[in-house]
């Protein structure tokens, strides 16, 4: 008893072949889109790899690129098969390959499910990498003369300006690091000397933030220095002042950007999985419909198409027995040898 059988006449077969051909080309476009999304994601990670201490994992974009290319190839082949399916001579070329092709598509679908899962789960890894990377970035902000870190200041300034954020979790992270290099501190000044000496590690700490934390939307000119000292500025209360500098932390800002990117890619991959499954079902129907034609010479005859030749349970038990026998053929069948002798 076939699983989900459908009767086909010539018209329906032709319609199925044409519709399936269109659908395969949509799937090729979806494959191209996945490929470009993978490249875009890779570029975005590279752009800000300094914020992640060059430690970020490129697994997801690399997988997306691979999957995109595979999707293009598989779906283009499927489209070609559909295009040739109504011509019996051309189709007989492809018939023997169809079983392997459908198995490959199955495997590819499983890979897509895996990629989609990774898109959602790897966000945790991105969060942790960002947290670590940003704390290093803030610490090395002043090292514009150290090779390998001379652009950290510029990258962090531009990130803070672009993402409207300040510091790792908030602007107070800047109070805990010395972000002005010793080269630019006037060591002969008493105030400077006092401050450096009063700190255990000899760091010049102050309650100020870099200019890139300033919010252009603030009605008053930016207050960067002596942020927690209300009396240092006229009509200023640091507890109620919200517009002066960006209050969001760069960790939150960058993570929300990357997580929304990864989530949308994950959703798109899910959509691609559905598309692939529909393609596979359609191709199975088409191939079975063409195989079960009562008179192969007469294209007008009726035929039946199905998804599985037997019911779902029977197919599974068949598959299990096949796997078991595959295992057994590898053992030496010693029981047969004595029988053969007698």
């Amino acid at each position: 008893m076939p699983f989900m059988p459908v009767k086909f006449n010539l018209q329906r077969r032709v319609k199925l072949a044409q519709g399936l051909w269109m659908l395969y080309w949509f799937s090729v476009i979806a494959g191209i889109l996945i490929f470009s999304l993978g490249i875009f994601f890779k570029i975005e990670l590279r752009k800000r790899s300094e914020m992640m201490d060059n430690n970020e994992s490129h697994l997801v974009p690399n997988l997306l690129i691979l999957v995109g290319l595979l999707a293009c190839g598989l779906n283009a082949f499927g489209g070609k098969v559909c295009h040739d399916s109504l011509d019996p001579i051309k189709f007989s070329k492809w018939k023997p390959m169809l079983k392997t092709y459908l198995l490959l598509c199955c495997g590819f679908n499983v890979l897509l499910v895996l990629v989609s899962l990774l898109c959602f789960l790897m966000q945790f890894s991105v969060y942790l990498t960002l947290a670590e990377g940003l704390s290093y970035a803030i610490r090395f902000y002043k090292d514009t003369d150290t090779p390998g870190r001379c652009f950290m200041k510029r990258t962090l300034d531009m990130t803070q300006i672009e993402f409207h954020c300040c510091g790792n979790n908030n602007f107070r992270d800047w109070f805990e690091v010395q972000w002005i290099s010793n080269r630019y501190l006037d060591m002969s000044n008493d105030v400077v000397k006092d401050r450096v000496l009063s700190n255990v590690e000899g760091k010049y700490l102050m309650d100020s933030v870099p200019f890139s934390c300033c919010n252009p939307g603030s009605p008053r000119p930016c207050i960067q220095h002596h942020l927690t000292n209300n009396s240092a500025h006229y009509d200023y209360d640091h507890r109620t002042e919200e517009l002066n500098i960006w209050t969001r932390g760069c960790l939150e800002a960058l993570f929300s950007y990357y997580s929304s990117l990864m989530s949308s890619i994950g959703v798109f991959v899910l959509f691609a999985i559905i598309l692939e499954s529909v393609d596979m079902a359609g191709l199975k129907y088409l191939s079975t419909a063409l195989e079960t034609m009562a008179e192969p010479e007469n294209p007008e005859c009726e035929s039946e198409g199905w998804l599985l030749e037997k019911g779902v349970k029977e197919t599974f038990s068949d598959l299990l027995t096949k796997l078991k026998t595959l295992g057994r053929t590898n053992q030496v069948e010693g029981g047969d040898a004595p029988e053969a002798n007698t």
Binding site: T144, K153, I180, D186, P210, P219, R220, P221
Partner: protein, 348 residues
């Protein structure tokens, strides 16, 4: 003596009609490109409209938008006509419309050329507008509580950050205006009051610049205040700390670049339109001559102008003169009565 005379056989006429149909459809696409370019320019100007003093510059994108739409319509119509022109019977339908259509297209093509030239010629007007606009924007930078100007501070800050520029011509422009609102100045402080009193107009001027002038390329933390008395660095290295370029120059370069590329594209579109117009003119004259000869299968001549340029100009001028004359009365039966004929009749 016709200008640009070419003889067409029947097959050539049909081929010309087909080619022109295709070219007209390509022109519809270029018309949409023109429309898109006009829209793009409009959006770009709108982005920084607050720092431009006059809105007269908007006539360039508006011109491009209308010309683009007109191109789509005219070329769509032209494609339809050219398709019908392959057959002499169908041409009869369009015979009377062809000449006005060609004149219309000629004027429209000159509009496209005008649009392209405007893109190149607008630089000086834009510079003037930017100079005045930026000066006003900087003057009203501090007025974040005045309705209508509350966003100017944000616009100027974002402009300086995005275009990596400071002030109108340079960072010293900020020294000449009060960019800190009096609301945030402690009037009880003697230093503040002294400074304001020492200025003729009572403005609080200082040698500092807003934070948006800070350069991200600078290796050391930004120094925005006490720029004239900075002792830790010398004048030369100080230049690295702030953006060196003036915003007027930055915006002018940005818009000139956009307009030059748009102008070049529009010029190419104009050349293409001219080509299509010439083709349509040849087709029109060839088909009219076929009808005049009476034999649809015969060869016919096509030209751009029937007579030489001077003669055509003269005849057109006469037509315009006579247009005026037709309103005068000159067939009055009571004047110019031949008296000699009347005298002859009487004796006999």
């Amino acid at each position: 003596m016709a200008v640009g005379k070419v003889t067409f056989s029947k097959v050539e006429r049909e081929k010309l009609a087909e080619v022109l149909w295709l070219l007209n459809w390509i022109s519809v696409v270029t018309g949409t490109i023109l429309f898109g370019l006009g829209l793009f320019l409009r959006v770009e100007i709108h982005k920084w409209q607050e720092v431009m003093s006059e809105q007269g510059i908007l006539y360039v994108p508006h011109m491009l938008i209308t010309t683009g739409l007109a191109a789509c319509c005219i070329n769509f119509f032209g494609g339809k006509i050219c398709l019908d022109c392959a057959d002499t019977n169908k041409f009869l339908r369009w015979k009377l419309v062809m000449m006005p259509y060609i004149i219309c297209t000629f004027f429209f093509t000159s509009c496209v050329l005008a649009g392209a030239l405007m893109c190149y010629g607008i630089r000086s007007q834009m510079e003037e507008s930017l100079f005045m606009g930026l000066r006003n924007a900087m003057r009203y930078y501090k007025d974040t509580d005045t309705p209508g100007r509350c966003n100017l501070k944000r616009t100027v800050d974002l402009l300086q950050i995005q275009f990596q520029c400071c002030g109108n011509t340079g960072y010293r422009d900020w020294f000449q205006i009060q960019w800190i609102s009096s609301r945030y100045l402690d009037m009880s402080s003697s230093a503040v009051v002294d400074r304001m009193r020492s200025n003729v107009e009572g403005k609080y001027l200082m040698d500092g610049v807003p934070f948006s002038c800070c350069s991200t390329f600078s290796p050391w933390p930004c120094i925005q205040h006490h720029l004239s008395t900075s002792s830790t660095q010398d004048e030369q290295s100080q230049q690295l700390n702030l953006w060196r370029r003036g915003c007027r120059q930055a915006l002018l370069d940005h818009y000139t670049g956009i307009m030059q590329s748009i102008g070049l594209t529009v010029l190419l579109i104009w050349l293409f339109e001219l080509l299509v117009l010439t083709g349509v003119r040849y087709l029109q004259t060839a088909m009219e001559n076929v009808l005049r000869l009476g034999d649809p299968e015969s060869e016919s001549d096509g030209w751009i102008l029937e007579n030489s340029l001077a003669e055509t100009a003269r005849s057109n001028f006469n037509i315009i003169k006579n247009l005026g004359k037709c309103y005068q009365v000159d067939d009055d039966p009571n004047i110019n009565v031949p008296t000699a004929a009347a005298e002859e009749e009487l004796p006999s």
